[in-house]
Symmetry: C2
Subunit: 189 residues, 2 copies
């Protein structure tokens, strides 16, 4: 029931990490020590009180809401010439990778490329109808992917061919041909 100090502090750290809502009193029961001991432990480990922990979790939440709204286009658009070419940048973070090997999921790279291809189209409605894509190299956590899109052909039937190539540094990691359907304002349903 009762473990030595070092071990207890390790467990305390873990416990709080995975349940930031837990109060000192409950912790003291869990480790069979006094509430003061828990407080000394928190001090040594620089773990703030429960209200501060909760506040922190909550404010992270607000940040995320903002960044989700930004993800209309996945990645940051840094250049856009409508019906011509566009470039976006995406930093690969935890939520983009498989946890077991930290390699970016295919649909993340696809999403960046697809969003860019759609954003490139200067019309009211733009939807992907077809794509042919290749993943030529694994992309790892922390790497920065630069996607470059270029309009290849504006067809008469309202379809546009766009090619996208994505790079990490000099290396091409992904490329694809997209066919985008478009429709102007006047023809809306």
């Amino acid at each position: 029931m009762r473990v030595p100090k070092k071990e207890r502090q390790r467990l305390l750290q873990e416990t709080i990490e995975h349940n930031p809502f837990i109060k000192d009193e409950e912790l003291s029961k869990q480790f069979s020590v006094s509430i003061q001991t828990i407080r000394l432990d928190r001090m040594e480990l620089k773990i703030p009180e429960v209200r501060e922990r909760i506040k922190h979790v909550a404010s992270e939440h607000l940040d995320e809401v903002k960044s989700l709204a930004l993800s209309e286009v996945i990645g940051d658009m840094i250049d856009l010439k409508l019906d011509d070419s566009a470039i976006s940048v995406l930093d690969i973070e935890k939520e983009h990778v498989f946890s077991r090997n930290e390699i970016a999921r295919g649909h993340v790279l696809f999403a960046q490329a697809n969003s860019l291809a759609v954003a490139l189209i200067d019309d009211e409605l733009a939807l992907t109808t077809k794509a042919e894509i290749r993943f030529s190299r694994q992309v790892h956590l922390g790497e920065r992917v630069v996607a470059k899109a270029r309009v290849e052909k504006l067809r008469r039937d309202g379809r546009t061919d766009v090619t996208v190539e994505s790079f990490v540094g000099e290396e091409c990691v992904f490329n694809g041909e997209f066919t985008i359907y478009r429709r102007g304002e006047e023809e809306q349903a």
Copy 2:
């Protein structure tokens, strides 16, 4: 500066909604009334105290973390025979669609299909190397997409061909051929 009760309560509601972290004291300054008035207002409007509000925001956050972790596979897997076939279901919600026309983004359907194809592979490492996809019908907010994946060919070189077809009701809305690279445990880098 000073507004009538009804108006003040409306503004109070809004203010707290978009900044749940605000304390009664600050609110009382903002509306030029006493702190007690703010508290009466909160009671009438059944708005809890600041700590409870923060707790609520934070716990929503934890829910999201869980559901993000679940999104290893996008959509719910309802059937899986490794190296053979699999089925997943995805309900199209707000975050999946373009806000202007409520049509699902292409990369959402791709993500469902791609995740399913990867999950199908019975190996340590599985990555998409190539895909050819077609979007045959628009998918709208609220619709339920059922994706069916089937292994077509297990090649000797460690690549596997998988086809995925996605349906809304009887209608095929998406289909694609994926080539998945795989590697067993013994060959890991």
